[in-house]
């Protein structure tokens, strides 16, 4: 897990994906490798220690999947569903999520740092210790979610709703917020400035 085997192609700085010595750019059958990994995520009860980066994933249904200790950073997810999925200690940093549904997600120690999320919903989720550092989030809903100890530092939030959320220890320091609602949430327990 998290071995971060570099791609074997000379001069390539990408990481090798699970099941290959190469990244998807240099693998001989990138579609087949990516499809195999995605099939494992959607069909197995839980997946551990998978690496799949730098690919576009469209229309996949990850509902109910248990994604544990995986590196899925720098991917583009379009129209994907993660409803009732569990994401533990996994990395989705510097990814793009477009029109994805994370309803009733259970995430612990997940990383979405530097990601762009547009038109996504996280309603009714438990997202504890989740990292949105530097994320750019537009037209999204976190309504009815527990976000305890999650980090939105240096993020850009536009048309985002945090209605009736637990915001205890949630850090919004240095974030830019436009049309953001905290109605019925305990925003006084969140962190907006530092001494």
């Amino acid at each position: 897990m998290f071995s971060f085997t570099p791609c074997s192609a000379t001069g390539c700085t990408n990481l090798a994906v699970t099941g290959s010595q190469y990244c998807l750019v240099h693998a001989q059958t990138p579609e087949a490798i990516a499809s195999d990994i995605l099939d494992r995520i959607t069909s197995d009860l839980s997946v551990h220690s998978l690496t799949l980066t730098n690919t576009e994933i469209r229309g996949r249904d990850f509902s109910g999947s248990r994604i544990i200790s995986c590196n899925l950073a720098r991917n583009i997810f379009i129209d994907c569903t993660f409803s009732e999925a569990s994401i533990h200690l996994s990395f989705f940093d510097f990814s793009k999520f477009i029109n994805c549904s994370f309803g009733e997600l259970n995430s612990r120690y997940a990383v979405f740092a530097g990601s762009e999320l547009t038109g996504c919903t996280f309603e009714g989720s438990d997202m504890l210790h989740t990292n949105f550092l530097g994320a750019s989030i537009r037209t999204a809903s976190f309504n009815d979610s527990d976000l305890y100890f999650s980090i939105f530092t240096h993020s850009y939030l536009e048309s985002v709703s945090f209605r009736d959320c637990n915001l205890k220890k949630v850090d919004f320091h240095s974030s830019e917020r436009k049309d953001v609602s905290f109605k019925y949430s305990n925003y006084e327990e969140a962190i907006f400035t530092r001494e």
Binding site: L15, F94, R108, G114, L133
Partner: protein, 195 residues
């Protein structure tokens, strides 16, 4: 290598259990508490806590040691000679050592405390209270804050930006995300003149 996380509701701190794929001797980083949840995690995965790594000697990171040592014959590694009356293997800055199958490098990053160590294991950095997601660790004076910033810039920022960060409090992160979005580090990098 597998990594498991455990959250202590007493000191709001993280402990990390690191072991092989199939159980056996394991390393525990910063046992802030030893409770039934952590015990179950160790036992259900077939591990034996053989080694304890301490990032520093504050109670939120060490209070579980005595209980653990009543159950497991664990050796303790830290930057001190003793912690909570337990004798430890004192680790120096830059020291490389092997525990089980894990190659570990200790990096001294003082500022939060004088004995603060960051442990590098493969691509993972266990940063204790030196570096959190989106901020540097708390300090007690302007001088110690300056020391911490300089230590981070000199010891950590130059490492592979694919490195994963597992802090003593809050969610995990990546070195790349911290370099891009951590307001404290951005400020420090602005003012830091390479020596």
């Amino acid at each position: 290598m597998k990594i498991f996380f455990h959250y202590s509701v007493v000191g709001f701190s993280n402990s990390y259990l690191i072991g092989g794929e199939n159980g056996g001797d394991a390393v525990l980083v910063d046992p802030g508490i030893m409770d039934i949840e952590l015990l179950n995690m160790v036992e259900e995965n077939g591990y034996y806590i053989k080694y304890i790594l301490l990032t520093h000697r504050h109670a939120a990171h060490t209070d579980g040691i005595r209980t653990i040592r009543k159950i497991y014959d664990a050796e303790v590694y830290a930057n001190n000679m003793s912690v909570t009356d337990v004798s430890v293997h004192s680790v120096a800055d830059g020291e490389h050592f092997t525990l089980g199958n894990l190659e570990i490098t200790a990096l001294q990053v003082p500022g939060h405390s004088t004995d603060s160590l960051v442990y590098r294991i493969g691509s993972c950095l266990f940063t204790g209270d030196a570096l959190f997601c989106g901020r540097i660790g708390p300090t007690t004076s302007v001088l110690s804050r300056s020391l911490l910033m300089r230590s981070i810039l000199e010891k950590l920022i130059g490492l592979d930006e694919n490195c994963l960060i597992f802090p003593g409090h809050g969610p995990p992160s990546t070195l790349k995300a911290e370099k891009f979005f951590n307001p404290d580090l951005l400020l420090a990098m602005q003012h830091h003149e390479p020596q």
